[in-house]
């Protein structure tokens, strides 16, 4: 039904193939029509900005220009990779914020007979599209194999909820969108306070010690909170936690086994799609335990996850302030409890 231009980004074809495969698998059932930009190029990740400003933005802007050209009717550009998403949004945002800079970038594009009018595209991250455009009700309709009993730690990483120029997310530190999605899939969502902490980005290549410490924080807390699996929306996060977990274990003499999957893989699983189609098995830290958890169970009566203890009738101690009501979150909650 709803059409989007897709900017996959390099990793979707390599490191994060599982993400791409699962995305393709789930997009049909939820009615998400993706049209890949023809001949898109790398977004430069976080590396190019530090080398030279104008080329860095010109590199990104080429993709925007191409997308805008193909965008007949639809203005919506969707990127599944956090870094790509942020770079695209950022280029658009700064070209708008500083018209002079915008003109300069366009001057560079002109050398390739391209141009991009800032603000002419509406750039979203995949999760944002699924939650706010497609809607959790649609997701819920497709769930045939709820992830009952699977304890999932939601992990978004940095670059989607921050800097969040357009204020799309419920919070900068603890956004609830991913939790809501996982609840809809029937999973047992772990309260994971580090859900937007940094995975280290390119640190494993630059300062391993720094990177390993960051990974340790993330993995150990997920482990302490008895998560069976972490789920993420970012190829970089997945690569670091999955790929460097072994080396990190070696570094600290620990032996964590914390698989991390892309949220689209879990969606596909709940939709009853074959694990192979969803790129299961591509992870280095095996997520077989997740499959077992559902494979053996039959959807209807499954052990309900432990509910948090009710507030005692007689108030003891001092009362807590009621949580702030954010209309955005409230609507989400309603959808989930439908």
């Amino acid at each position: 039904m709803s059409d989007y231009i897709l900017y996959p980004g390099c990793s979707m074809e390599t490191g994060a193939r599982a993400y791409y495969d699962s995305l393709k698998a789930i997009s049909k059932p939820i009615g998400l029509n993706l049209k890949e930009i023809d001949d898109w190029n790398c977004c430069g990740a976080t590396e190019y900005f530090g080398i030279s400003k104008t080329p860095a933005y010109a590199l990104i802007a080429r993709n925007l220009a191409l997308a805008a050209e193909e965008a007949n009717g639809t203005r919506k550009l969707v990127a599944p990779c956090s870094a790509c998403y942020l770079n695209l949004v950022k280029a658009d945002h700064y070209m708008r914020e500083q018209p002079k800079f915008g003109r300069q970038v366009n001057e560079a594009l002109a050398a390739g007979n391209l141009s991009y009018k800032p603000g002419s595209l509406d750039i979203h991250h995949l999760l944002d599209v699924i939650i706010y455009d497609i809607g959790l009700d649609v997701v819920e309709k497709n769930v045939v194999r709820p992830l009952k009993g699977v304890r999932v730690a939601p992990y978004l990483g940095c670059m989607v909820p921050r800097p969040d120029y357009d204020h799309r997310w419920s919070d900068h530190d603890l956004p609830v969108e991913l939790d809501m999605l996982l609840k809809t899939l029937g999973a047992d969502v772990v309260d994971y306070p580090l859900k937007t902490e940094c995975c280290g980005g390119h640190m494993p290549q630059i300062s391993p010690a720094t990177a390993f410490e960051m990974l340790r924080r993330l993995i150990s807390v997920a482990d302490e909170r008895e998560a069976d699996v972490m789920t993420t929306i970012c190829p970089m996060c997945q690569l670091n936690i999955d790929g460097y977990q072994g080396e990190m274990n070696g570094f600290f003499g620990t032996n964590y086994h914390m698989p991390i999957l892309f949220f689209t893989q879990l969606m596909g699983l709940a939709f009853g799609i074959e694990p192979k189609e969803l790129g299961f098995g591509l992870e280095l830290v095996s997520a077989k335990n997740v499959l077992d958890a559902i494979g053996v169970k039959t959807p209807p009566e499954a052990p309900t996850p432990p509910v948090p203890p009710r507030k005692p009738r007689k108030p003891e101690g001092l009362p807590m302030p009621t949580p702030l009501t954010n209309p955005q979150i409230e609507t989400l909650k309603k959808e989930v409890t439908k």
């Binding site: 530190d173 306070p193 108030p315 101690g317 001092l318 009362p319 807590m320 302030p321 949580p323 702030l324």
Partner: protein, 680 residues
Amino acid sequence: MTENMIENTSSNDDQEKIGVYVCHCGTNIAGVVDVVQVAEWAAKYLKHRGVVIAREYKFMCSSLGQELIEKDIKELGLNRVIVAACSPHMHEKTFRTACANAGLNPFMCEMVSIREQVSWVHTDKVAATAKAKAMISGGVERVRHNVPLEPIVVPINPATLIVGGGIAGIQSALEIADAGFHVYLVEREPSIGGHMAQFDKTFPTLDCSACILTPKMFSAGSHPNITLLTYSEVEKVDGYVGNFTVTVRKKARKLDEEVCTGCGICQEKCPRKVIDDVFEAGLGYRKAIYTPFPQAVPNRPVLDVANCTYYEKGTCKACEIFCAPKAIRFDQQDEILTLQVGNIVLATGYQLFDARRITNYGYGRLTNVFTSLEIERLTNAAGPTNGNVVLRDGKTAPKTVGIIHCVGSRDKNFNNYCSAICCMQSLKFAHLIHERTGATIYNFYIDIRAASKDYDEFYQRVLEEGTLFVRGKVAEITDVPRMESEKGKLIIQVEDTLVGKQRRIPVDMVVLSAGLEARSDSKEVAKTFGISCSFNGWFIEKHPKLDPIATMTEGIFIAGCAQGPKDIPASVAQGAAAAARVLGRIEQKQMALEPVRASVIEEKCSGCRICNGLCPFNAITFHEDRMVTEINPALCQGCGTCVAACPAGAITGTGFSNEQIMAQIDGLLMLNVEPEPVTA
């Protein structure tokens, strides 16, 4: 009044005799503008426009300067005066009075600001002199169309309305009442006292808040000249300075205040416990029928219908059963009162910044994060813990406490202003908590702002007590430990900017010194009373320095935090100042309003009603019968929007009429200057 104005405009055929007076202002003007040349020019080139005399003088505002004008008016029979000097906001009154003294209607005198607008802002002498000439020529053309005006005189009703029963409002009420005039004190909550009643100690003297407030509350409650209207809200304000008509909704307490003795048995017997979000800041409980606190004034409970079992289930009535004097009235309805007052003081106070908005500080998520108001209640002997500072579990005393300044203040993501009281409040907490628990106290600050009498001394004292100060805005508060020592604690992550390193400081309790915000409904309140409020919702004063008490709307004054964040002494001072201003008005018995007003020439009014919607002061009324619009001169504030909008040109703005402005435009463009001087 409308009539004789029209007459004035039309009967304006007598020959204009204009005097132009150019001031040197020492060298302030003469240093840049060739005043002598300007005066000569005016005399020569504006002669045919009615200028009979043009003089320059060192200081026109001096008594000698004024005499010069007065003399000319008498001897040359001037009927128009132009003073080219400083800004009219500086000396317009001076020169208009001078004219009046010489028997000329003060409104026949206009000023041209060749100091603020010429000599002080331009350096090129030639260009400056030319501009001065143009401005004078504009002034001359304008003054030709000036008409004598009489100030509008309105009587002042001696009764006063004060909105808000906090310390500022109480102070204001007492001052006026003691002077022998009647005051209506309207308070939204069941009792007066405001935020100050919630506090334990006040900085920097640490005297007990209740001890100094309760007597004032009591005298306000018992004063023969004060009508206390608690649990009431102002719904509508009509009229204008001198005679406002105010509509007040007195919410149903569901009991007869006359019959009730305030014995308190009802709240004792009421089975329904409710979290008290207002007075106890959500830390304590009250009953469904309650007085917010023991010293409440008036000492009469209110029945909170929303939480009452009887209104939910239709049974219970415990309060009624146990009430000896039988004061409970379940069927009582809201009352609508209409008050007649001459002046209004708005002292509606502030609300605390909602700390839950800063998610990285975890208030509402992390159990032992508290707000400043909660701590006020914790430290208060009459509070939910009888003054014991304990963690959320209600038992354990904290061993280490982190107090965080500037929560929601000085932050473009929330409020970009400084809340003024947080530093001192945080220092106070540091002292009180240390005193009660002996805990180690950290203060996390950006800058310590203790700029008031004895404030910095208090800072010194708190330093002496061994409070640890960390200069840095706290980045986040987390319960996720990274090392053994952090387990089970709240970790405050901050850059110690004086060391230049990131620190993680484990504590048991965190206090968020939340800032002050304008009340969420301040914009509606401002609209109701016809005043304006700033982007942040604070009421705007008439002048930020020289008149922080009056508003742009005559007869409406502001006091306390409603005008901007301030501490108790400042609120009290402002409350008293507002009272003084009101009393001054009352003593005058009547007041003269600037006759800068719009009026309708009925013959021209087509009854199109275009102007009807334009007036924010409801000064415009439409007469269905005659199909014409009329403007109430006392309500009109003289903005002139309707004048500009009237397609028939039926509305004239005295003091700023179309003729005056059109003429001034031509004058400024020098269209009135003859190519060759007309020789006399």
